[in-house]
């Protein structure tokens, strides 16, 4: 699109933001200049700490009190950077609006959706409550919420995550905003919901002549929606331009790394098929896990079933040396299965035979001994380590507790394990908060390997990590799997990772396995409608299946 004759909607010139803490200033954004054109969907991509969100918030004057801002943010001839707060309030929600990553925490839980959508209308246009309600219903229609007349009287907790994000978008555009700032709007959502929200944003851009700034760490999401991309790193813009140009021909080294790190940009794992004949290590038969449902008065009176089945009659087998992926959206029961296998959750039915033992029948010391053969790596690298223990102690602890080694021998083994996960043993004395997320996840892996397990379960281990780190962790895990001959269960919502990492895949929905088989079969020719929908929702860089590139990269 040619924008050379059109004046920019917002013009940002030499914007710098410093965060002042304990007397010293940490630069969050450094001397950034760019334009937002009318009708633009500008994507800002970068890793955590790259300054993308800070830039976005600076436009609306929503920076924390510790932030010091310099430079210009020109909007309709005025400089938003120096504007008085009272004037800024008139622009927020009327001309420029913002939506956030987590709709649950940005909607008021004790206010009806209608009141929250009507609020900007009443504040900015001074219209009556009844008119605001009518306008609210129209906006809910615009964001394609079914039954808007009913939903307008709902409270946030009565809506699903996707509907909440739609409601937040509705509140943001209700006054006819020209510019919508979207800060990671789909990060907390499942991939199929994400696809629908992105579709909605695209539609709103057309129907409402809305300009959008989309901030995301996910280049796939950005490439799918945006016509222009701005790549940020360490507070600076490293590259910006048309989406197609940047994706096809990235100039900056960092952009190239970002593209190469996208999951699924790798050759599918070429693995020997010898595992078919290998003995069965884990056999799951008719596994059921139920949780009590909070009972209301009606349920209590009618004595209806007060449990819900997180896992419902699931059966599968894992052969020794094989890697099985369990994929599905949040609430599909995939993590519950993972936790049942190592005995963290007690199933209400079925059997779990691992290494010849029925895990469901094990208690006390027998269960503790079993855990030597099955280990788990957790999603959040920081939360799964005791913040008060040095990471070296955390790795040594399992060996000492299981009586496998003396504390002295364990300390020596810690060094070996840390080298195995490609960390310098010098880091052993650090606490988790002194390490990066990627380093902490390596510690988590080292700790899981300390007991030399036969089965390693990885529960969404890369979803809290930046994409370049994610690629490194997966490479490491791939090497360890081959050198240690590990059997793996890889729990994930990310199909692109599964495609390159696993041999077989089980697709879960609502506590059941809907499809299971070889990765190439299930993801290549999905038979079930749900698998097809899941595959179609994955954001793609080139609008088609990813073209595999050379596995080696920086």
């Amino acid at each position: 699109m040619s924008t050379s004759t059109v004046a920019p909607l917002v013009s940002i010139r030499n914007l710098s933001v410093d965060i002042v803490a304990a007397g010293s200033a940490v630069p969050a954004v450094r001397n950034v200049s760019f334009d937002i054109m009318p009708g633009d969907i500008l994507g800002i991509v970068g890793e955590s700490g790259s300054g993308k969100s800070v830039t976005c918030r600076a436009v609306l004057g929503l920076l924390p009190a510790a932030a010091r801002l310099s430079g210009q943010i020109l909007f309709q001839g005025k400089d938003l950077a120096t504007m008085a707060e009272s004037e800024m309030e008139k622009i927020r929600g009327r001309d420029i609006s913002m939506i956030f990553q987590n709709p649950s925490s940005h909607l008021d839980p004790i206010m009806k959706i209608g009141a929250q959508i009507g609020e900007p209308l009443r504040q900015h246009q001074g219209i009556s409550a009844s008119k605001a309600r009518a306008a609210g219903i129209r906006v809910l229609e615009d964001v394609r919420i079914a039954e808007p007349e009913r939903r307008i009287d709902s409270y946030p907790h009565q809506l699903s995550g996707g509907m909440k994000q739609r409601a937040m978008i509705a509140a943001a555009i209700s006054c006819g905003a020209r510019l919508l700032l979207a800060d990671e709007p789909t990060t907390a959502l499942d991939v199929t919901v994400q696809a629908r929200i992105l579709e909605l944003l695209k539609g709103l851009k057309e129907s409402r002549q809305l300009s959008i700034v989309l901030v995301s760490h996910d280049l796939g999401v950005i490439a799918q929606l945006c016509n222009r991309i701005m790549v940020m790193r360490r507070g600076e813009i490293v590259e910006q331009g048309e989406t197609s140009t940047i994706v096809a021909d990235p100039q900056h080294e960092y952009t190239r790394l970002l593209i190469a790190s996208q999951p699924g940009r790798r050759q599918p794992a070429v693995r020997s098929t010898a595992t078919h004949a290998a003995p069965i290590l884990l056999a799951v038969r008719n596994l059921v896990v139920s949780f009590p449902r909070p009972a209301g008065i009606r349920e209590t009176l009618t004595r209806s079933d007060r449990t819900f089945r997180a896992v419902d009659e699931v059966s599968f087998e894992v052969r020794s040396g094989e890697s099985l992926a369990i994929v599905g959206e949040s609430g599909s029961g995939k993590s519950t299965i993972a936790r049942s296998i190592i005995g963290l959750i007690r199933p209400s039915g079925g059997t779990l035979h691992c290494d010849g033992q029925d895990v469901t029948a094990l208690t006390g010391d027998a269960l503790r001994r079993f855990r030597r053969s099955a280990q788990m790596i957790f999603q959040s690298p920081y939360d799964s380590l005791n913040p008060r223990l040095a990471v070296g102690e955390a790795i040594a602890e399992p060996m000492i507790q299981h009586g496998l080694m003396t504390p002295k021998a364990a300390r020596h083994r810690v060094g070996e394990l840390m080298e195995m996960v490609e960390l310098s043993p010098d880091l052993a004395r650090r606490r988790p908060h002194e390490l990066s997320g990627g380093q902490c996840q390596r510690i988590g892996i080292a700790r899981a390997l300390a007991l030399s397990p036969r089965l390693l379960i990885a529960d969404e281990i890369t979803s809290a990590l930046d994409v370049t780190i994610q690629a490194q962790i997966l490479d490491l895990l791939r090497r360890l799997r081959d050198s240690q001959r590990l059997t793996m269960i890889y729990v994930s919502h990310d199909l692109a990772v599964v495609r390159t990492f696993c041999d077989r895949v089980a697709v879960m929905k609502g506590g059941r396995i809907v499809e299971m088989g070889e990765v190439s079969d299930v993801l290549g020719q999905p038979k079930e409608a749900y698998t097809q929908e899941l595959l179609a929702s994955v954001p793609k860089l080139f609008g088609a299946d990813p073209v595999p590139v050379e596995p080696q990269h920086a």
Partner: protein, 281 residues
């Protein structure tokens, strides 16, 4: 999971609570020093009755005056510091230890153990704190030992409740789940991983509890169930001096100030710790 990068860029102010900690800490250590070395430095017998010199205002021989029996007030306050500090430590530690163990077990293991222990807590809190303490001391007989026993029997409930709430939360924490998954024994997890993380609000509460114990001790002394005469204790000194307060302002003022400053020390330390450890009171 913020991608804003601001949370990491704003380190918690280093000095938070440090003024309170240093003032409170100095007050407490000053009293500790005075309690240990004060009486021998002064070299005056706190129980030496001198009926010739009763109710004397502060002057060169008796810096803080004398009481109705002619005993030196300064000597009695210094000796009383030993009793009062001992009281606040022995009055806080046993209930703290009982409460922490009960609360941890209750919160972490849950189930029927939790139900039984928490009903016990409910029964105990159904009675007003001081009334129950007085009732128990009344049954066991007056004296400092029985006062400590009574406090241990009554005081643990607040600690148990506080730490049970933390235990409930920590039980679900991912690093505790990870510890379970690694096959550590339950009691090891409880004391090695859960307890250290649960203790910070307890440390803060213990400081303010020390003040409560001092007040309770003074109240008991006042009704004659606490420290027995002639042992000097600040609460008893105030109570004994009360009939003579119109004749000498100094009799109640100085022990009162001593009690207040020691209490202030504990409270400031508690406030400072709360700020430092990020505990909301």
């Amino acid at each position: 999971m913020s991608h804003l990068g601001l949370s990491t860029a704003v380190p918690r102010a280093r000095s938070r609570g440090s003024i309170e900690i240093s003032i409170g800490g100095s007050l407490l250590s000053a009293w500790l020093f005075l309690a240990i070395f004060g009486p021998s430095i002064l070299g005056v017998d706190p129980n030496q009755i001198d009926l010739v010199a009763i109710l004397q205002p502060p002057h060169a021989d008796h810096w803080l005056g004398t009481d109705q029996l002619g005993r030196d007030a300064l000597a009695r306050i210094l000796m009383g510091a030993r009793i009062d500090i001992l009281m606040s430590v022995l009055g806080v530690l046993p209930p703290l230890i009982i409460g922490v163990v009960v609360g941890l077990v209750s919160g972490y293991f849950g189930g029927w153990i939790d139900s039984i222990l928490m009903r016990l807590v409910d029964i105990t809190v159904a009675f007003p704190f001081l009334v129950l303490v007085i009732a128990i001391v009344g049954m066991l007989g007056p004296g400092l030992d029985n006062f400590f026993v009574a406090l241990a029997l009554v005081g643990w409930v607040s600690y148990a409740r506080l730490i049970r709430a933390r235990g409930l939360v920590l039980r679900e924490a991912e690093f505790i789940q990870a510890a379970r998954g690694l096959g550590y024994p339950p009691l090891y997890i409880l004391f090695r991983h859960v307890m250290p993380k649960a203790l910070s609000p307890i440390a803060v509460y213990a400081m303010s509890d020390a003040v409560m114990v001092m007040l309770a001790g003074a109240s008991l002394g006042f009704v004659g169930l606490g420290v027995q005469p002639p042992t000097p204790e600040w609460g008893v000194m105030i109570a004994d001096g009360q009939p003579f307060v119109t004749m000498g302002w100094w009799i109640c003022l100085f022990p009162g100030m001593a009690a207040a400053s020691l209490g202030l020390g504990f409270l400031l330390l508690s406030d400072g710790l709360a700020g430092r450890l990020g505990v909301r009171k």
